[in-house]
Structures are given as C-alpha cells and as structure tokens.
C-alpha cells in the first residue's frame, strides 16, 4: 500500500448519476455539471463508470470529459461508455487521467465541468450509470 505520510494525500470521491434521457439517448454535447467551483486544491486521480441500467443500442458510445474550467477547459480525464462495457450491471470501467502539464490538478477556486462530447457519439437506446470521480488533496487552510 502507499506508505502512510503525515503530509501526504487524503482521498475523496464524487459520484454523479448519469441519466439515460437527455444524456445517453442523444449524441448532443451535454454538460452533466458545468463550472462547479472546487474550493480546495486537489488532483483528479481516478474516473470510474459503473452501469446501473444495462446499456443497449447498436454501436452505442458516449465519451465524457472532466475539464478544468468550463466546457472548453483543459481535459483532466476522460471515460467512454460503450455498448460493450455497459452490458453487465455493476461492471466497472476505468477512464484515463491526463497528467501531462498538470492537467488533472485543480487550484482552489478553479471550476470543474463534466461534459459529454459529440465527437464519436452514437446514442444508447437504454442505459444509465454512476460516474465516480476520485480526488486526492493535502491538508490546507480554510481559505
């Protein structure tokens, strides 16, 4: 396990429920969460997608980006829900974190956006999942 470190990181998770209607049943650009203020410094460490409704739809695929800033901000991480990985309830699919140039690092007061993109999208005909974001942060002053 990671060594315990008094000045190391603690971890926190943020779960967002991704509905079928309005998100998975379209190929549109959709903001699941737009410009939420993150009032503490942290780093995005993991993205996991957990289906709670079996996905259907030939060739279905939807990519979700976590961005530092608004809907045009730097991509900090990404995950793709596909017909294949949404076919069995509960099976976890991990996304990818972008660490280059500190893209996954959020400063206190930065905003965060979770956005489904149009590129490469094919709509699902059924589905729904939980998006679990894991962050790590160090102890810091209140403000």
């Amino acid at each position: 396990m990671p060594r315990l470190a008094p000045f190391g990181y603690s971890r926190h998770t943020l779960t967002l429920t991704v509905p079928f209607t309005g998100v998975l049943n379209t190929t549109n650009q959709v903001n699941l969460m737009l410009s939420k203020t993150v009032p503490f410094s942290c780093e995005l460490e993991r993205i996991d997608v957990v289906p709670t409704t079996v996905g259907t739809g030939a060739g279905a695929t939807r990519t979700v980006n976590v961005r530092n800033g608004s809907a045009t901000g730097t991509v900090a991480g990404t995950a793709t829900a596909t017909l294949s990985n949404q076919g069995t309830l509960g099976v976890v699919t991990a996304g990818t974190i972008v660490t280059a140039a500190g893209a996954n690092k959020f400063g206190s007061g930065d905003t965060m956006t979770v956005e489904f993109i149009t590129a490469g999208a094919t709509a699902f005909t059924a589905g729904g999942f939980e998006l679990i974001l894991t962050f790590r942060d160090k102890n810091q002053a209140a403000v």
Binding site: P2, L4, E45, V92, I132, T134
Partner: protein, 144 residues
C-alpha cells in the same frame, strides 16, 4: 470528537440504487463489481437513504465485499418496506468482517477492490429507490 494531525479524513462514496433490476428483483446482482479504490482505507459506515417510496413489501439484502462477488463480506444491510416507505429515511447497516459488528473496522489496501452486491433470494419491491452511502476513512498517504 477526537482531533489529531495524524488522524483520519473521511470520504463518502455514494451509489444510486434503482428499482429496476435491483429492488424490483430477487436475484443476485452487482451494483458495483470489483472497483479499485486506489488508496488504503477502512469502511466506517453504511447508510441507505430512501429516495423513492416502495409500495409493496420487499426484502433485499445488500452486501459490501472486499474483492469480487465472492469476496469477504465487510458490511451488510437489509432493506425492508418499513425502511423504504418514507422518502429521506436513513437506515444504517452493519460494518465488520463477515458482516458482523466486532468493533474493528474492515480495511482495504490501495490495490484491493470493493464490490457492492445484492444477495440472491429476497422478496422484490414494487417501486422504490435509494441512495447507498459508504463512509470510508483514510490516513494521509503517498500518491502511490
């Protein structure tokens, strides 16, 4: 509440539990299978908050396991109509190795996985819905 520089911070991992395939069912089904946590921690609490009322009596047992669907049970809660009949009602589960409260909290290493699974059998609800809240506590640790 005890405070200390080398003590724990907490995080809450939430999962929505839909009616379809979970509450309105009787079979074994995984809500979350073998998710890597990525950090060492202990399971401290299990709570279920009712978000949609169930209309027909049901009974479903939900287990939290260390590992996959056959891993060691480290927490359990039984959902009954009495607990699912009013929106906002909070019900606490039992935390402990083997699903038995012993006082010692179950621990996960950073490479362990966690599974949330409804056990087989039970009685299906009609309607219903809830939010599962798992409280995890961890001490400061290195990035990896």
């Amino acid at each position: 509440m005890g405070r200390g520089a080398y003590n724990y911070s907490r995080t809450i991992l939430s999962l929505q539990i839909p009616s379809v395939a979970y509450l309105a069912a009787t079979g074994a089904v995984n809500l979350m299978l073998s998710k890597t946590l990525g950090f060492a921690c202990e399971l401290e609490r299990i709570d279920v908050v009712t978000t949609a009322t169930a209309s027909v009596a049901g009974s479903r047992v939900l287990n939290v396991r260390r590992g996959n669907a056959t891993g060691t049970v480290v927490g359990t809660i039984t959902l009954l109509l009495a607990s699912q009949g009013t929106i906002g009602t909070v019900n606490a589960g039992v935390v402990g190795e083997g699903g038995v409260a012993t006082g010692a909290l179950p621990s996960f290493t950073d490479t362990d996985t966690i599974t949330v699974q409804f056990a087989g059998s039970g009685t299906a609800f009609t309607g219903g819905g809830c939010e599962l809240l798992l409280t995890l506590r961890d001490k400061n640790q290195a990035a990896a």
